[in-house]
Symmetry: C2
Subunit: 341 residues, 2 copies
DNA sequence: GGATCTGATGAAAGTGCTTTCAGTGGATAA
DNA sequence: TTATCCACTGAAAGCACTTTCATCAGATCC
């Protein structure tokens, strides 16, 4: 089962290896006729270029890296799926790199990875997208990268984003439409722009509906189940408790559900609850959790394609496609229960 | 920032590139003194061999593949973490390959991947571990592989396994110790050996405690939330319903919880519930779900190491370490409620 | 019509490592 | 002592591509 080489193709097509190489790499300066001829032979022999040889000769690895630091495995898997898809499409390999954004060794580790894997470019996800030290390092080392960001960061060609504030506003609006006026908000880690954008969306929705912003309804969480429980307890023991709670992710929402159960507050009759991320938990809770779903896989594939097109020389620029997040309505939200009013 | 080559090291150490290569690859026939000397230079220059060149010259990619087809993303991420760890340790790259075991194109896709990525070996996970056609293909194509299997499949050096039956038996025993005698069992997909092993463990536990096996307490599920709901409904409407239910995974257990809620059956007071896998859901449900945790990451790293040692020429065989699954007790299981008796 | 340009093609020289095979010198055997 | 062996080392030839640069015919120009 000896592998077919470029030389084999060249011989069969009656051209030089260089011309085959031109066709393989989509280079110009090949007459249409010889291109067709060579493509035919490539097909017949089902020739695949040897990646190692390509890398060695061209001094590029045909590898891109995906950096993430996210406790939600569904999030990670969706990202991977997206990037993997484009990688396959363009003949690139994917190097996955789970990391710890807060680790002092982050950059050192990455540097090692960059040396050993020689990745041609990187896709960064939050929170690394906001790690300035990291970004500086990448720029200084000349590593191309693309960000998947929760900001509408249209600043550059370098990022793909969905605006968390827009969809959050929509979710809050849906609660308001159900008649809720006092809506608790559990934040994520405040330093993350995603958290800030969600809070912003909340504020915008209130403003739009002339509901005054009550600081005491905003409780700090840290994206974990436990923090959701605590935050909910605080909110639900409020002297004038909210009739709805928006949690900045599903895990905290699950925490709210637990707290509500403990306090014998029924969802959605006495309390409406909305999460964020549409993790499997959301569907498996009782009642199902109303939540927000980002088109993660497509975001990731978009980011990957952006990166790869930037890396390849002879490619058309990517047409931009608008990606929309979705509000998933389930049983955890509903009309305000009037008996309490 | 020109990269350091083997030649540079050779020059600085006053030896030939070949000797440096010997040191890098841990080959024998190098005197201790020159080995030390070369290692010193490698350190000073922080030389890393160029993977592409290595691959090209030695005709091996230094890549291993991880094949999985599992809806649980935590499962997938744990596996990846395990294999990734070993890969880094041994200077290998990891190619992740989510696939569909039932797809007729599975083998074709894999063949393409094998051609384009030239992976040196594969780690297979269930259900691919039981896909004979796939295994045959791998053997015939001469691709080394290692299995992560739920069978105690000590048949070969080629597999790493934990015996699902043992830990299931333990879980059922714990229910029996709580006084349960009628224990419902929701199976997974029956063709999977993991499912069979779990059922076997259930049967063994009953037998050991002289509890007769009641076929009507066994309901078929398919690992999904929905199937859990249905199975639970069937069990709970049984004329002589079980006081405890074992679901073959957490998702189905979540389904049971939902069904119980609908039927106003309280967990754990009126019904004990045990899941399998210890996914995040288990911790986020109310009450928390008693479940079983496999040491997945370590299984995966073990499998990876087994594979890589097999691939590398100059390595010691791996000492076997016994990996144990764990029963995680949470609020969903408890003593039989005597008021119903 | 000769000079110049241009698009298409190929020859040759890398790319950084491993392989194969040929030494080399000292130790062991006869 | 001489033949044999063995541990250690290196020279040279790849590996399958890409790069650079040269070539060459036909088109374009004045």
């Amino acid at each position: 089962m000896k592998a077919v080489t470029m030389q084999d193709v060249a011989d069969r097509a009656g051209v030089s290896p260089k011309t085959v190489s031109r066709v393989v790499n989509n280079e110009p300066r090949v007459s249409e006729s010889t291109r067709k001829k060579i493509e035919k032979v490539i097909d017949e022999l089902s020739f695949k270029p040897n990646k190692s040889a390509q890398s060695l000769a061209a001094d590029r690895s045909l590898l891109i890296g995906l950096l993430y630091d996210n406790p939600s495995s569904t999030y990670v898997v969706d990202l991977q799926a997206g990037v993997l898809g484009v990688c396959n499409k363009f003949g690139y390999g994917l190097v996955i790199h789970p990391c710890e954004n807060d680790s002092p060794e982050l950059i050192q580790r990455l540097r090692e990875l960059l040396v050993s894997s020689r990745m041609d470019g990187l896709v960064l996800t939050p929170p690394m997208t906001e790690n300035q030290e990291l970004l500086d390092f990448l720029v200084s080392s000349g590593t191309p990268y693309v960000l998947i960001s929760p900001l509408d960061n249209s600043q550059s060609e370098l990022s793909v984003s969905v605006d968390d504030s827009v969809i959050t506003q929509q979710a809050i609006q849906s609660l308001i439409d159900f008649g809720h006026r006092r809506i608790g908000f559990i934040t994520g880690l405040r330093k993350r722009s995603g958290s800030e954008m969600r809070l912003l969306g909340y504020q915008q929705a209130l403003e739009k509906n002339n509901i005054s912003y009550d600081e005491s309804l905003i409780v700090q969480g840290n994206f974990t189940f436990g923090s959701g429980v605590l935050a909910a307890q605080e909110l639900l023991r409020h002297e004038n408790p909210p009739t709805a709670i928006f949690a900045s992710n599903d895990y905290m929402a699950a925490g709210v559900m637990k707290a509500a159960l403990q306090l014998r507050i029924s969802i959605p009759h006495e309390l409406s609850l909305c999460g964020f991320d549409d993790t499997p938990v959301a569907g498996y809770m009782s009642p199902g959790l109303t939540t927000i779903r980002h088109p993660l896989e497509r975001l990731a594939s978009h980011a990957g394609e952006l990166l790869i097109r930037q890396l390849k020389k002879h490619t058309q620029p990517l047409e931009v496609e608008t990606l929309k997040s979705e509000l998933i309505l389930r049983g955890s939200t509903g009309p305000v229960n009037n008996k309490t009013n």
